[in-house]
C-alpha cells in the first residue's frame, strides 16, 4: 500500500514536470518551423510518416492495454481462458497484411519524396541559384561565394527567395552541413564535393550546425545563416569587398589549422581554392604514389602562375568582421589550440 502511494506521488510529480518541460520545449521545434521549400516538404513528409505510424500505434496500444487488463490473473476473472489455443491462420493473415499494406503505402510515399527531395536536384525558380562552397575545417566553417569572390567564416548570408547551391567538402574529418529550418543535411567529405540545394523564403536568422562529430571542439561549429533581401545582400557583398580583408593561400593554411574561430569576412579568395581543397585528396585517390606528388606539383605550379600574373593578393588580411555582421565580442581572429579557455563561449 505504502509503495503504491509513493509510486503514485512519484509518477504524478514526474508527469507534471514533464508536461511543463514539454510545453516549454514544443514551442520551438525548429524542424516543424521551416522557412524554405525543402524544409517545408521535409516537414510534410515527417507529418505523413508520423500519421501512418499513429494509425497503427494508437489501436495497438489500446488493444495492448485492454488485453493486459482483461486477462490478468485475478480470482473471479471471468474472461475466457484457452491455454492451448495458439494458432489461427485467419488472424495471422490479418496481422501480416496490416504492416505490409502500411509499409507499401509508406514505401510509395518515400519513393516519391526521395526523388523530389534529392539534395542535388536544383530548386525550380526564376532566379539564378547563388553558389556557396562550404568547407568544414577543424573546427570552423569556411563559406566561399565564388561568383561574388568573397568568403566568410562561421556565418552565412544568403538572399531570400533565391535558390542556393551548396557545394560541400571537408579539409579534415567528415562533418555534416545542417540548417534545420532550411532543410537537412549532407555530409562534408574530404576529396569530394557534394551538392545540396536549399532556399529561404522568409527573412531571418537561422541556426546552422555541424552534425557529424569531428573531434575536440566539434561543439563550437555552430553558425548563423542570415537570410536577407536581395538588395541588402548585394550591399553586403559590396561592403565585404570594400573591407579589403583578403584570404590568401597562406591565410587559408592558417585558417585550416585545428582551432576554433570567430566570425570573419574576406573581401577576396584565391583563385580555385575550393577546387584545390577538393582535389588535394581526390587526385591521389586510386592513383599510384607518384601521382600524389604530381598533383601537388600541379597545384603548386598553378599557384605560382597566379602569383606571377599578380592575381593573388599578398599576405593574409583576415580580420574580425565589421560590427554589424559580427555577433561576438573582441578577441583574435583565430583561437589556436587551447585546452581550457574555449569552454565557456556562448554562440
Amino acid at each position: 500500500m505504502r509503495i503504491s502511494k509513493m509510486l503514485r506521488l512519484l509518477t504524478t510529480s514526474v508527469v507534471m514536470i514533464g508536461t511543463i518541460a514539454l510545453v516549454s520545449g514544443c514551442k520551438s521545434m525548429i524542424v516543424f518551423d521551416p522557412k524554405g521549400p525543402i524544409g517545408s516538404q521535409q516537414r510534410d513528409l515527417i507529418n505523413i510518416t508520423m500519421l501512418l505510424c499513429l494509425i497503427i500505434l494508437v489501436p495497438v496500444m489500446l488493444i495492448f492495454a485492454w488485453i493486459v487488463w482483461r486477462f490478468r490473473d485475478r480470482k473471479g476473472n471471468d474472461a475466457p481462458y484457452q491455454p492451448v489455443w495458439s494458432h489461427s491462420t485467419k488472424l495471422e493473415v490479418i496481422w501480416w497484411s496490416i504492416p505490409i499494406i502500411v509499409i507499401l503505402i509508406l514505401a510509395l510515399v518515400t519513393a516519391h519524396y526521395t526523388y523530389a527531395l534529392d539534395p542535388a536536384k536544383p530548386i525550380a525558380s526564376d532566379k539564378k541559384a547563388v553558389t556557396i562552397q562550404a568547407t568544414s575545417l577543424d573546427w570552423k566553417w569556411l563559406f566561399q561565394y565564388p561568383d561574388q569572390g568573397i568568403a566568410t567564416v562561421n556565418y552565412l548570408v544568403i538572399p531570400a527567395k533565391t535558390p542556393i547551391k551548396f557545394e560541400l567538402t571537408s579539409d579534415g574529418p567528415m562533418n555534416s552541413f545542417w540548417v534545420p529550418q532550411l532543410g537537412g543535411m549532407i555530409y562534408t567529405m574530404s576529396g569530394m564535393a557534394t551538392t545540396m540545394f536549399l532556399q529561404a523564403d522568409e527573412l531571418g536568422n537561422y541556426m546552422g550546425t555541424g552534425a557529424n562529430f569531428t573531434g575536440r571542439d566539434f561543439a563550437k561549429m555552430g553558425f548563423t545563416t542570415k537570410a536577407i533581401a536581395q538588395a541588402d545582400f548585394d550591399k553586403w557583398v559590396n561592403d565585404a569587398k570594400a573591407s579589403g580583408n583578403a584570404l590568401s593561400e597562406e591565410g587559408y593554411q592558417t585558417l585550416a589549422m585545428p582551432g576554433t574561430s570567430e566570425q570573419m569576412t574576406f573581401a577576396s579568395i584565391p583563385d580555385g581554392l575550393f577546387h584545390r581543397i577538393v582535389h588535394e585528396y581526390s587526385m591521389s585517390r586510386g592513383a599510384p604514389p607518384g601521382y600524389t606528388r604530381k598533383a601537388q606539383t600541379l597545384s603548386g605550379e598553378k599557384k605560382a602562375e597566379h602569383t606571377e600574373g599578380g592575381q593573388l593578393p599578398p599576405g593574409n588580411g583576415a580580420q574580425k568582421d565589421s560590427p554589424d555582421m559580427s555577433s561576438t565580442g573582441p578577441g583574435h581572429a583565430i583561437q589556436m589550440l587551447d585546452h581550457h579557455t574555449h569552454m565557456n563561449h556562448g554562440k
Binding site: I3, A21, G25, S28, M29, I30, V31, G39, Q42, I46, T49, M50, I56, L57, V60, M61, F64, V68, F71, R72, Y81, Q82, P83, V84, W85, S86, H87, L91, E92, W95, W96, P99, I103, A107, T110, T114, A116, L117, M174, S176, W178, G183, I186, M189, M196, M207, T209, G210, A211, N212, T214, G215, A219, S284, G286, T292, H339, H342, M343, K347
Partner: protein, 659 residues
C-alpha cells in the same frame, strides 16, 4: 642520473593518464579494490577454489555466470559514463567535463554498452539457458566456450585499462576515420579500442559457431525443429548473424590498425584512401549487430510471455520465420545509417525500403505476443513486468525507426538527438528490458533462489519512469536542432529545459540500477531456497531439473515428445497419467577443466597491450605464448572423464529426486 629521472618522470606522465581528480579517484579505487580482492582470497584461502571452480571451468553454467557478472560490472561503468554525460549536459556551458574528456566518455559509453555489456549479458543468457532447453550436457565445444569467455574478458579489461593508462579512445563508438587515423587521433586510445574489440570479437565469433553447432547437433532425441524452444530459435538466428557479421568487423578494424601502425592508406584522406569505405564496412557489421543483440531479447520475451500467461506461444511458426527473416534482412539495410552521404536517390531508396520491410516481421511479432496474452492468465511477476513494459516502448521505438528509415526525412533527423532517443528506446526498451526479464526469469535456475519481487518491482517502476523522462525530451530537443556528441551548448539555443529533464530521467535510471543491486544483495542474504526446480510453473525442459542444475544437467537424456515438453508432462501427471519412462542411469561423459583458455587469453591481452603501444618486445612473447598454448592443447588427450552412476544417484537424491 638527473636526466634519467626526468625521462622516467615524463614517461610515467605519458603512460598514465594524469591531471584529472576523477581519474586519480579511479586509480585509488582500482588499487584498493584489487588489494581487497587479493586479501579476501588469501585470508579465506580461496585461491584454489577460484582456480578449480571458475578460472579453469568449461561448464556452460559457470561460464554463463561469469559472463553475467562481467556484464553487470560493465553496465555499472557504462552507466556512470552516461550519468557523467547527462551531468555535463544538464545546464548550458557546463564545465564539469572538458570537451576532450566528454568525447572520451561518450565513446567508451557506446563501446562498453554494446560490446562489453549487451554482448556478454546475451552470451551469459545463451550459456545459462540453451543447453538446458535442448536437454544437452553442455555446449558442443566446452573448451572453446571457456576460451570465448576469457577472450571477451581480456578484451574488455584491455579496453577499460585505457581509462588509467595511455588515455581513452575519443572518436565515437564506431571511430570513423579520418578522425580515428593517426592524423586525427595520435594517442594510443584508438589502439586500445581496436585491440579491445578485436580480442573480444574473436571470442564472439567462436561463441556464434559454438551455439550454432550446439543447436544443430545436440538437441535431445525427439526434439524436431518444430519442437525447439523459441528462445533457442532466437539464439540460432542471432548466431547466424554473428558468424556473418563479426568477420567484417575484424577485417575493418584490422585495416584501420594497418593504417595506424604501418602507415597504410585504406581509410586515410590522402594516398588513395577512402574513409567512406570504413563507414560502409563498419555498418555492414554494425547494423546486423543491433539485430544480434535484439533477437535473443525477442526470444526471452516469447518464453516469458507464454510462461506467465499460462498459455502456449501464439503463432510459433510465424515467430520463427520472422526471426530468421530479420537475421537475413539485417544485411541489406546498413546504408540507412548514412543516407546523408549523398549516394543519390536510387541507392537511398533501396535502403529506405529494405529498412521498412524489417518492420513487417517485427510488427507481426508484437501481434503474436499480444495474442499469447489474449485468453491467457497474466501474472505480473518481475520477468513479465519487463516484458509488458517492453511492448509499448518497442512499438514507439519501432515507429520512430520507421520514421528514420524514410530517407528524405532522415536528412532532418540524422545525427540529432531524435536519433539518440530512437536507438536508446529500442536498445534499452528492447535489449536491456529483455535481458533483465531473462535474468529475473532464469535467476532461480542459475542459483536456486528467486530474486526479491518487491524490491524488483520498485526497481522496475523507477527504471521505467526514468526511461521515459530521460528519452522523450531527447526526441523534442533533436527536432529542435540539437546534434549528438555536443560537449556543451549555450543558453540561447533553448535546449536547457529538455536537457535538464532528460538528466533527471538518467539519474532515475541510475537509482533503478541501485535498487537492482540492493535486490540481489537482499535476496542473497534472505535467500529462500527453491526446492521444486520449477518456481515459475514454466514450460520448457530447463525447468524439469533441480535448481541450480547439477554439473551434468540431466541425469538421463530426456525424450522429447512436445513443443512445451515439460508443460505437457506436468499436464499428463496432473491428469493422473503415467509420466514418461526414463531410461536407466548410465555413466555420464563430461569434459575436463582446462587452464589453457585462461592462459591463452592472458597471452592475447599481452599481445594486445604490446600492439597498442607499438612495443613488439611485449607483443612477440605474447604471440609465442598463444602458439605454445595452442600446441599444448592440441597434444592434450586427457580431456574427458565419466561421472559414475553412484555419484549421479547421490547428487539427484541430495536434490530431492529419485531416479
Amino acid at each position: 642520473m638527473f636526466y634519467m629521472m626526468e625521462d622516467i618522470g615524463s614517461f610515467v606522465s605519458w603512460f598514465f593518464v594524469t591531471g584529472d581528480p576523477l581519474i586519480y579517484g579511479a586509480d585509488v579505487a582500482i588499487t584498493l579494490t584489487s588489494v581487497a580482492i587479493i586479501f579476501v582470497l588469501t585470508f579465506f584461502g580461496k585461491w584454489g577454489w577460484l582456480y578449480r571452480e571458475w578460472l579453469t571451468t568449461v561448464d556452460h553454467k559457470r561460464v554463463g555466470i561469469m559472463y553475467i557478472i562481467a556484464a553487470l560490472l560493465m553496465l555499472f561503468r557504462g552507466g556512470v559514463d552516461a550519468l557523467m554525460m547527462r551531468t555535463q549536459l544538464a545546464f548550458p556551458n557546463m564545465e564539469f567535463l572538458a570537451p576532450e574528456h566528454y568525447n572520451e566518455v561518450f565513446t567508451t559509453h557506446g563501446v562498453i554498452m554494446i560490446l562489453f555489456m549487451a554482448m556478454p549479458l546475451m552470451f551469459g543468457l545463451f550459456n545459462i539457458a540453451v543447453p538446458l532447453q535442448l536437454g544437452a550436457r553442455d555446449v558442443a565445444f566446452p573448451f572453446l566456450n571457456s576460451l570465448s569467455f576469457w577472450l571477451f574478458f581480456m578484451g574488455a579489461m584491455l579496453f577499460n585499462m585505457s581509462f588509467v593508462i595511455g588515455g581513452s579512445p575519443n572518436a565515437g563508438w564506431l571511430s570513423y576515420p579520418p578522425l580515428s587515423e593517426m592524423t586525427g587521433s595520435p594517442g594510443v586510445g584508438e589502439d586500445f579500442y581496436i585491440w579491445g574489440i578485436q580480442i573480444s570479437g574473436i571470442g564472439s565469433l567462436m561463441t556464434g559457431i559454438n551455439f550454432i553447432v550446439t543447436i544443430v547437433k545436440m538437441r535431445a532425441p525427439g526434439m524436431t525443429w518444430s519442437r525447439v524452444p523459441i528462445f533457442t530459435w532466437s539464439v540460432l538466428s542471432s548466431c547466424i548473424a554473428i558468424i556473418v557479421a563479426f568477420p567484417v568487423l575484424t577485417v575493418t578494424l584490422a585495416l584501420l590498425f594497418l593504417d595506424r601502425y604501418l602507415g597504410a592508406h585504406f581509410f586515410t584522406m590522402d594516398g588513395g584512401g577512402n574513409s567512406m569505405m570504413f563507414v560502409n564496412l563498419i555498418w555492414m557489421w554494425g547494423h546486423p549487430e543491433v539485430y544480434i543483440v535484439v533477437l535473443p531479447a525477442f526470444g526471452i520475451f516469447s518464453e516469458v510471455v507464454a510462461a506467465f500467461s499460462k498459455k502456449r506461444l501464439f503463432g510459433y511458426g510465424s515467430m520463427v520465420f520472422a526471426m530468421l527473416s530479420i537475421s537475413i534482412m539485417a544485411y541489406f539495410t546498413w546504408l540507412h545509417h548514412f543516407f546523408t552521404m549523398g549516394s543519390g536517390a536510387n541507392v537511398n531508396l533501396f535502403f529506405a525500403i529494405s529498412t521498412m520491410i524489417i518492420a513487417i516481421p517485427t510488427g507481426v511479432k508484437i501481434f503474436n505476443w499480444l495474442f499469447t496474452m489474449f485468453r491467457g492468465r497474466i501474472s505480473f511477476t518481475t520477468p513479465m513486468l519487463w516484458t509488458i513494459a517492453f511492448i509499448p516502448c518497442f512499438i514507439v521505438g519501432g515507429m520512430t525507426g520507421v520514421m528514420l528509415s524514410v530517407a528524405p526525412a532522415d536528412f532532418q533527423f540524422h545525427n540529432s538527438y531524435f536519433l539518440i532517443a530512437h536507438f536508446h528506446q529500442v536498445l534499452i526498451g528492447g535489449v536491456a528490458f529483455g535481458y533483465f526479464a531473462g535474468l529475473y526469469y532464469w535467476w532461480p535456475k542459475m542459483f536456486g533462489f528467486k530474486l526479491n519481487e518487491t524490491i524488483g518491482k520498485w526497481a522496475f517502476w523507477i527504471w521505467n519512469i526514468g526511461f521515459y523522462v530521460c528519452f522523450f525530451p531527447q526526441y523534442i530537443v533533436g527536432l529542435d536542432g540539437m546534434t549528438r556528441r555536443l560537449s556543451s551548448y549555450s543558453w540561447d539555443t533553448g535546449w536547457w529545459a529538455m536537457n535538464f529533464t532528460s538528466t533527471i530521467g538518467g539519474f532515475l535510471m541510475g537509482i533503478g540500477f541501485l535498487f537492482q543491486v540492493w535486490q540481489i544483495a537482499h535476496s542473497i542474504k534472505f535467500m529462500e531456497k527453491d526446492t521444486t526446480g520449477d518456481p515459475w510453473g514454466a514450460r520448457t525442459l530447463e525447468w524439469s531439473i533441480p535448481s541450480p542444475a547439477p554439473l551434468y544437467n540431466f541425469a538421463t537424456t530426456p525424450l522429447v515428445t512436445d513443443r512445451d515438453d515439460w508443460w505437457e508432462e506436468k499436464e499428463r501427471i496432473a491428469a493422473g497419467k503415467m509420466p514418461k519412462d526414463k531410461p536407466r542411469l548410465e555413466p555420464i561423459h563430461m569434459p575436463k577443466n582446462s587452464p589453457i583458455p585462461f592462459i591463452q587469453s592472458v597471452c592475447w591481452f599481452i599481445v594486445g597491450f604490446g600492439l597498442v603501444f607499438h612495443w613488439l618486445w611485449i607483443a612477440i612473447p605474447g604471440f609465442i605464448g598463444i602458439a605454445l598454448t595452442l600446441l599444448a592443447h592440441s597434444f592434450n588427450y586427457d580431456t574427458d572423464y565419466y561421472i559414475p552412476v553412484d555419484e549421479i544417484r547421490q547428487t539427484e537424491a541430495n536434490a530431492g529426486r529419485s531416479v
